[in-house]
Amino acid sequence: MSELQQIPWALVAPILVVQFILMIVALIDLKRIYATNGPKWIWLILILISGILGSIAYFIVGRRQA
C-alpha cells in the first residue's frame, strides 16, 4: 500500500482522466454508430482493454462513414 501512496496522484490523475474520457467517447460512438469496419464486439474489447491506443484506432479506422 505504501507504494501506492508514493505515486504522485495529483500529477498522474489528468492522464488517467484523459484516457477515461477518450474511452467513454469511443464507447458512446460505438453504441450509436450504424456499422463499423469489422465486427463491433472486437472494437468493444479493443477499446476496453487497450487504453488510449484502442480508442484512437477506433476513431481512425473503426468508424464507417457512409
Binding site: 500529477l11 474520457i21 467517447v25 488510449i52 484512437i56 476513431f59 462513414q65 457512409a66
Partner: protein
C-alpha cells in the same frame, strides 16, 4: 461569403458529430502531458520496471523546460501529424466515394469555396488541438522543470500553427486529388517521412518548410537565426498557397468528372 459560412458550418457539424473536435485535442493533451511526466520520472520508472541489475547507475542529463518542449514537439511531429492526417485525409475523397459530393457539385458552389471550407475547418481543429496540447505540456513542464519566457513560447506556438496550416493544406489537397488510400500514402510520405528525410540529408539548406518547426523551437531553446526563420516561413507560405491552388484545381476536376 454566405456560401462559405454555410459550408463551414457543415464542416463544423461533421467534425463535431464524428467527435473529431473532442478526440484529437484529447490525444494531443495526452501526448503533451505524458512527455514531461515520463522525462521527470524516468529514473523511477526504470527502477520499477526496467529489470536493471543490482547497483546499476545511470547518469541522466539535467533537462530544462526547453528540452521538454523539444521532445513534446517530437511526439507531435510524428504521432500527432499521423493522427491529424488520418483523421482528415478522407474529407473530400470519402464524400466523393459515398455520394455526398454529388449533392454539392450539382449546386452553383465554386470549387474554391468547397476546398477552403474543408481546409479551414481542418486547420481549426488541428490548431485547437496543438494549442491545448502545448498548454497542457507547458503546465506540467513549469511544475516539474521550470519555465520559459512567455513571448518566446507564444512565438513558437504561432510558428507551429503556420506549419499545421500547411500540413492540412497538403492533406485536403491530396484528399481532393486522389482516392483515400493513395492520398494517405502521399500525404504521409510528404509530411512525417519528409521530416525524416529532410533531417537526414537536409544539412545543406536551412529554408525548407520542414525546418520551420525547428526554427520556431529555437525561439525557446537558443538564439534564433532570424534570416533562416524568415526564409523558411516564406517558403512555407509559398507551399501553402501552391498546395491550396492544387487542391482547388483538383476539386474543380472532380466537379467536371461527376456524373449526375
Amino acid at each position: 461569403m454566405t456560401q462559405f459560412s454555410v459550408l463551414l458550418k457543415k464542416e463544423f457539424l461533421e467534425s463535431w458529430r464524428s467527435f473529431k473536435f473532442l478526440w484529437i485535442p484529447l490525444v494531443f493533451i495526452f501526448l503533451g502531458v505524458t512527455e514531461p511526466l515520463t522525462n521527470y520520472y524516468i529514473e523511477d520508472i526504470l527502477a520499477a520496471v526496467g529489470n536493471m541489475p543490482e547497483g546499476f547507475e545511470m547518469l541522466f542529463p539535467e533537462l530544462t523546460a526547453a528540452d521538454i518542449l523539444l521532445s513534446t514537439t517530437g511526439q507531435y511531429q510524428l504521432i500527432g501529424l499521423l493522427v491529424l492526417i488520418s483523421a482528415f485525409i478522407g474529407s473530400v475523397s470519402r464524400e466523393r466515394h459515398n455520394g455526398t459530393a454529388t449533392l454539392l457539385y450539382v449546386r452553383p458552389i465554386s470549387a474554391a469555396v468547397i476546398f477552403m471550407s474543408k481546409w479551414m475547418m481542418a486547420s481549426i481543429v488541428s490548431i485547437v488541438s496543438a494549442v491545448l496540447g502545448y498548454l497542457a505540456s507547458m503546465y506540467y513542464t513549469v511544475i516539474l522543470f521550470g519555465s520559459v519566457a512567455v513571448d518566446d513560447f507564444v512565438k513558437m506556438l504561432l510558428t507551429y500553427c503556420v506549419w499545421l496550416v500547411l500540413v492540412m493544406a497538403i492533406t485536403i489537397a491530396m484528399s481532393a486529388a486522389f482516392q483515400t488510400g493513395v492520398a494517405a500514402a502521399i500525404a504521409i510520405i510528404l509530411i512525417p517521412v519528409g521530416l525524416f528525410v529532410d533531417s537526414a540529408i537536409g544539412g545543406f539548406w536551412t529554408w525548407t518548410p520542414w525546418k520551420l518547426v525547428n526554427h520556431g523551437l529555437s525561439f525557446v531553446t537558443d538564439t534564433i537565426i532570424m534570416a533562416d526563420f524568415q526564409m523558411a516561413l516564406l517558403f512555407t507560405v509559398i507551399a501553402i498557397i501552391s498546395f491550396s491552388g492544387l487542391g482547388i484545381l483538383a476539386t474543380k476536376r472532380n466537379w467536371r468528372l461527376t456524373k449526375v
